[in-house]
């Protein structure tokens, strides 16, 4: 067999030759790319991959970019691509892999995530949505919240409680749900920004075939952890200097002498340096991953991102009061994706408040760093070993 790089280049060339990105539809191209094993080269053959080491993915992406070929829309199907695919690949059944991975990759099926609940926020394992098995079918009742994209998602990953007689982590099961089930109601959840980027999802008698269970009954926490770990890893990618909020502010500073002052200069440089050292830390983490030595920095870096996003957008408002006193638009929209930087400074400030909550609150992340990285004693678990039904909620 030839070396992987040569083989990959051949396959890419063949794909581009048979499916000219300029003429075929994106869906068709992505389908063909999946079939050629060029979706995720580290996945097995037949599931969008070629069983190669993960680092070859970057190469394929680069070549595709050079050829002007489309990739899947990460902004619309981020949960599907970033979290569901690796989970199904790692733990799903062969049938699930065959049924779901291809339309997920082509974005014919958008996925959303039904994890958080009003009573299960930082305590994610406190999920109370109930799933009961009868014959081969589960029936699900409950309420989920903070579901982005639920209103245009075709499918969802769901964690539900299947046993209240055992401690909370032990009674959860992980499912794949059809969002077109008549028992599902999606309501927009309007946020501080005026937008409804997220939804509340009500589940009333939603049915799920047992074939759409992922992992064993009662193993849902472990499966969900696999999913969430994929979320965290996404942070470890390098970024250019002045990416993000600091770049927006620095550009404004350069273009707008009226907002400059000595005091603001030092404040700006303080955050410029903070952003830069976080960038360097991310770059180093990326280099570690490349040589197969992942570090524990990811959780801590998310703390830094949140702190910086909030401080820098707050500062941006203060630097230009006449502008910061205004807002671009309070109308309730339901955006297709999140753009932290896309709107005006007031929006960016408000939206950044979510950075220290979503995807693991800063408080939870500090616990994680303290306990798992520094090895400090865990918090006392008052619910440890207690059946879920007897735990105070």
């Amino acid at each position: 067999m030839s070396d992987p790089k040569t083989m990959l280049r051949q396959r890419v060339d063949e794909l581009l030759a048979t499916h000219d990105p300029a003429t075929v539809s994106t869906t068709e191209f992505l389908g063909a790319r999946f079939d050629a094993g060029l979706a995720w080269v580290h996945f097995p053959e037949g599931h969008g991959g070629l069983g190669l080491p993960q680092e070859y993915n970057d190469l394929v992406e680069t070549w595709m970019d050079e050829a002007g070929a489309p990739g899947p829309e990460r902004s619309r199907n981020g949960i599907g691509l970033g979290m569901v695919a690796p989970t199904i690949m790692a733990i799903g059944t062969k049938e699930q892999q065959e049924k779901y991975l291809r339309p997920l990759y082509t974005c014919e099926e958008i996925w959303c995530q039904l994890f958080s609940e009003p009573g299960a926020g930082s305590d994610l394992a406190a999920v109370a949505t109930k799933a009961v098995l009868s014959g081969d079918t589960w029936t699900v009742d409950g309420q989920k919240v903070w579901t982005s994209g639920a209103h245009h998602a075709k499918r969802a990953i769901l964690v539900a409680r299947t046993d209240i007689e055992v401690p909370k982590h032990a009674g959860l099961t992980y499912f794949l749900v059809d969002m077109e089930d008549p028992g599902i109601e999606v309501r927009p959840l309007r946020q501080i920004t005026g937008e409804a980027e997220f939804n509340e999802v009500f589940l009333n008698g939603v049915t799920i075939p047992d074939a759409d269970r992922v992992g064993e009954t009662g193993e849902g926490w472990r499966v969900a952890t696999t999913t969430l770990n994929n979320e965290r890893v996404a942070i470890g990618s390098g970024a250019d200097r002045e990416a993000g909020h600091i770049g927006v502010l620095a550009e404004k500073w350069r273009k707008n002498p009226a907002i400059r002052s000595e005091a603001a200069y030092h404040e700006l440089m303080h955050w410029w340096i903070e952003a830069e050292v976080t960038r360097l830390t991310g770059e180093r983490l990326r280099q570690q991953l490349e040589v197969g030595q992942p570090g524990p920095e990811g959780s801590a870096m998310k703390l830094a991102f949140a702190t910086q996003a909030q401080a820098i957008t707050g500062l941006a408002i203060e630097l230009d009061p006449d502008h910061g006193l205004l807002y671009d638009d309070w109308t309730m929209h339901r955006p297709d994706s999140t753009d932290f930087l896309g709107r005006d400074v007031g929006f960016r400030y408000l939206r950044a408040k979510g950075n220290s909550l979503e995807g693991g609150s800063s408080e939870i992340l500090r616990n994680v760093v303290a306990e798992r990285v520094l090895g400090l004693p865990a918090e006392q678990r008052l619910d440890k070993g207690i059946p879920f039904k007897d735990v105070p909620r």
Binding site: Q191, P321, Y327, D383
Partner: protein, 355 residues
């Protein structure tokens, strides 16, 4: 040193105002302002003016007011901050009223004191004592606070003829509402129009300056009231929100943050009270007291609101919970009448610290 405590009369005043706010405002309808901006003729404003008569606190009795003063007005503002009340108290009953009082104006002051009319000083809302410029040329002035729904506009203008303070009826010009970060104190672009000249030259400048000083001094009390409310609401929330089988307020990291916030809020209260007292006493230390209070209370209010959002977790990010109203008011008020940075800049020379 001047008295920093509250009198029994002030305690009673607070009770009345708090009661009125609780009766006439609810967070849901306040949030509604973001979608459908309303003029000031709210029940809350009616209650403050008609039932409680607090619009006239700064105005002497012989001018149709109550003859109280800044200390009492500060208590009203603490409660307005506590309720994020969408009322023009600071802009009309404090700033515009103080401008007219300084001029010895008598035609309009009584109806302002009665709350029958409202007025606004037409300067950008970030203008601060000692650092503001009158309107020049023909561009509208913006963003102006208190102008939406006001009956009277006090417009400082400068032209070849010098500096003037003009009184313009709202009906005689255009007040364009702006989409404001804080819709509970909406901003506007005010088109210039000529009106009655109230004063000129130094007299007019002194009047505007007095208005801004009173505004900056007493905004601190509104900020303190807001911050304290955020602290109390958050303490209450974390006592009752259960995660991991315990109230999240039993987690020490949260306790320590709230302890630190308690210190800040407490100190903001002392600073705001001192500014109100210094204004009331026309103390030689007044300018220092104002810059200290503005620099400190502005940041404390923002910090308290930010902590409230964070410690309310996802709920704090929703449109449904009122926490966002506090954050928006706090952040806008931080810019109002001078940012903390500018007040630190102003303060140094007053206490003989210069670069």
């Amino acid at each position: 040193m001047t008295n920093l405590l509250y009198t029994d009369i002030e305690d009673a005043l607070r009770e009345s105002v708090r009661g009125a706010m609780e009766r006439h405002l609810d967070p849901h309808s306040t949030t509604g302002i973001y979608d459908e901006p309303k003029p000031w003729e709210s029940k809350a404003w009616q209650s403050l003016t008609e039932e409680l008569g607090v619009a006239g606190l700064l105005v002497p009795e012989d001018s149709g007011g109550v003859g109280a003063g800044p200390r009492e007005a500060a208590v009203v503002l603490e409660e307005i901050g506590r309720a994020v009340a969408p009322v023009p108290y600071l802009t009309s009953s404090v700033i515009a009223t103080q401008v007219l009082l300084q001029l010895g104006e008598s035609e309009h002051i009584a109806s302002l004191a009665a709350g029958e009319t409202t007025a606004a000083l037409v300067l950008p809302w970030a203008a601060r004592p000692g650092h503001w410029s009158p309107a020049q040329g023909t561009d509208p002035v913006k963003p102006v606070a208190g102008a939406v729904g006001a009956d009277l506009l006090l417009i400082p203008v400068a032209d070849a003829g010098g500096f003037q303070l003009q009184l313009v009826k709202a009906a005689d010009t255009t007040v364009d509402p702006l989409v404001s970060f804080d819709m509970t104190r909406p901003l506007a672009a005010v088109t210039l129009a000529s009106g009655e000249v109230l004063a000129t030259g130094e007299e007019a400048q002194r009047a505007v300056e007095a208005g801004l000083q009173a505004g900056a001094a007493l905004l601190a009390s509104e900020q303190y009231g807001l911050a304290r409310s955020c602290l109390e609401t958050t303490v209450d929330y974390v006592k009752n929100r259960i995660q991991f089988a315990r109230p999240i307020g039993s987690f020490q990291a949260i306790k320590h943050r709230l302890a630190d916030l308690y210190l800040e809020v407490t100190q903001a209260g002392a600073a705001a009270r001192y500014a109100a007292a210094a204004l009331a006493d026309d103390d030689p230390d007044k300018a220092v007291a104002i810059s200290v209070a503005q620099a400190y209370c502005s940041d404390v209010a923002v910090h308290a609101a930010e902590e409230a959002v964070q410690l309310h977790g996802g709920n704090g990010m929703t449109w449904e919970y009122p926490v966002h109203l506090y954050l928006k008011r706090a952040k806008s008020s931080q810019l109002a009448l001078g940012t903390p940075e500018k007040h630190r800049q102003d303060l140094g020379p007053l206490v003989n610290i210069t670069t």
